[in-house]
């Protein structure tokens, strides 16, 4: 079972129990000031954001084809079979390409540390194998965030929209954004009004660079043959010229 999370913003009451549970999982400080930040950072890996009467949640989307994992030069990020996109701080050299490339601007950096690492939600990967829900799902008193299987959660989300078409916009965010994500969202207003990008491509981003990178061996082989050939031809021409020149002086 590949882990997924469904966040239904129409159910969310903005109590921030998810934030609190998350900071406990990472042994991070949590207080009113941090609660009010409403912004992902190295000390806050999920956040509730307030848009008037509405709430929305931000956390790593755990893309099906994660851009961060594709761009990492040392393979410090990867998506596990169980669903979470996890980070290996022992490999990371701190180039921050993952942060530049992430379409959801999720990874944070420990800017104030002398030995900085990248920080991001790991979908409580320590619990993934045992099938336990994420801590944020567990902490949510109103089941706005629930953990489950992706297909089942999509079915559940569709059911909610069908049963209450007036309460929801007819869209499940995360089904097709950048090729699909493991976090799915429901909303009562268009998603760009609660802080989500709606202009992301439906195909996965890693293909954009792989289309070019896959030609690297071709460039090396064709280039090598071509340049070797040019060198041979031009040297030969000089040799011939030399020989002719010598004959000419005889």
């Amino acid at each position: 079972m590949a882990r997924s999370v469904l966040y239904d913003s129409t159910r969310c009451v903005g109590c921030r129990e998810c934030e609190k549970a998350c900071s406990e999982r990472w042994h991070l400080p949590y207080n009113d000031k941090i609660a009010a930040e409403e912004k992902l950072s190295a000390h806050k890996l999920t956040t509730i954001r307030t848009y008037g009467e509405k709430f929305s949640r931000k956390l790593c989307m755990h893309c099906l084809e994660p851009t961060c994992a594709s761009v990492c030069p040392v393979g410090a990020l990867h998506k596990t079979a169980l669903g979470p996109v996890v980070y290996d701080g022992d490999k990371c050299m701190g180039c921050r390409y993952c942060m530049t490339a992430c379409p959801f601007q999720v990874p944070s950096y420990e800017w104030d540390s002398r030995l900085p690492k990248v920080r991001k939600c790991d979908f409580c990967s320590d619990r993934a194998a045992s099938g336990q829900p994420t801590r944020c799902s567990e902490a949510c008193p109103v089941e706005a965030t629930v953990t489950g299987d992706r297909d089942q959660l999509i079915a559940e989300a569709r059911k909610r929209i069908a049963e209450n078409p007036n309460q929801y916009v007819n869209k499940i965010y995360g089904i097709e954004e950048v090729g699909g994500t493991s976090v799915l969202m429901l909303s009562s207003v268009p998603f760009d009004q609660i802080g989500f990008r709606t202009d992301l491509p439906q195909s996965s981003l890693p293909m954009l660079t792989w289309n070019v990178l896959s030609h690297v061996p071709d460039v090396a082989i064709v280039g090598g043959v071509l340049l070797g050939g040019i060198h041979w031809v031009t040297s030969r021409r000089i040799e011939v010229a030399k020989a002719e020149g010598k004959e000419g002086t005889k």
Binding site: G75, M93, P116, L227, I238
Partner: protein, 391 residues
Amino acid sequence: MSRLIPRTFWQWTFAILMALGAYATFVRFYYGLGASTNLTDQFPWGLWIGFDVLCGVGLAAGGFTLAATVHLFHIKKFEPIVRPAVLTAFLGYVLVVVALMFDLGLPWRIWHPLIMWNPHSVMFEVGWCVTLYTSVLALEFAPVVLERFQLVRLMKVLKVVMIPLVIAGVILSTLHQSSLGSLFLIVPHKLHPLWYSPLLPVLFYVSAIAVGLAMTIFESWHSSKAFGRELEFPLVKRLAEILAVVLAFYLTIRFLDLFKRGALATLEQPGPERWLFGLEIVLMAVPMLLLFRSKTRSNPRALYFTVVMFLLGFVTHRLNVGITGMERGSGVQYVPRWTEVVVTLAIIAIGFAAFRWIAAYFPIFEKEKEPAPPVATALDREWELEPAPGD
């Protein structure tokens, strides 16, 4: 002791930059990236990537351009400027690595990509190519050092491998010069349409060739000033002609691409993007037009300033891709902190000083035994003077 006291204006500038640079280095490594840069989670790449890496690697492109011209295409009349070009390239790459050591969060892990592979990452490819090419450049430059100390045996060994090395250098350069553009292929949602293009790798590669030629002209001029030598002027003039054609080619694909994607419509939007785009294009198109005039090419001073204008245009393009174009998509404004600027300036100053010092002690420039050879068509067959590859 008295030799260490700065006297001229430039010596003072250098000394002050070194002092400030030392302090900025302390701030960077003692207090971390947060205290020494204006980078944020929303804007994780700034001046050190946008200028030091993207521009630095580009400005060092003269090495592979000229090595290919002379050693592979056997256009031997350019021989006298290969060494300065290879030296600039080598220094350039070393300094890019130095800048990366500042920018990486954990710089002592810079070797990680060599053993921890991810072939899907453009950064992985760039890392490998830059490492290999810096080694190639060291070997391409080695004959100069060996010649200085008369190590004849080693020189012979190097001569045997020189052609494969030059070929490898050209391929590696082709790969990573274009890949610096490919780095941004993965951010269609962030990079402004005036700069995001599926052709980014092609645009980066062609402009790298142009800037390689331009840097060679730039250095020839400075060396002729610094060492009171005759400028290899006929050669430089010829380079300027080629540069004009490469620039015209670059601007053609740049505009065809902009038209095809309909990106020029975004020029109606207010904001800094359109002005900086305009600046970039003017600083490339005006030099191109000037270089097509033989009057400009025949006047060393005019040629020098035209080339400087293009170098600034090139830098503007790279900064636009790395910084300007990324701001709106990230939703933040980025202005580098003083430490970022000082480290960058100090690295440039070290580059100039190192070039000067090496050029003074090693046989970089041909001796002033004869006036620069006139460019005649017969020189294409200048086999009598054919020096061994790698010289």
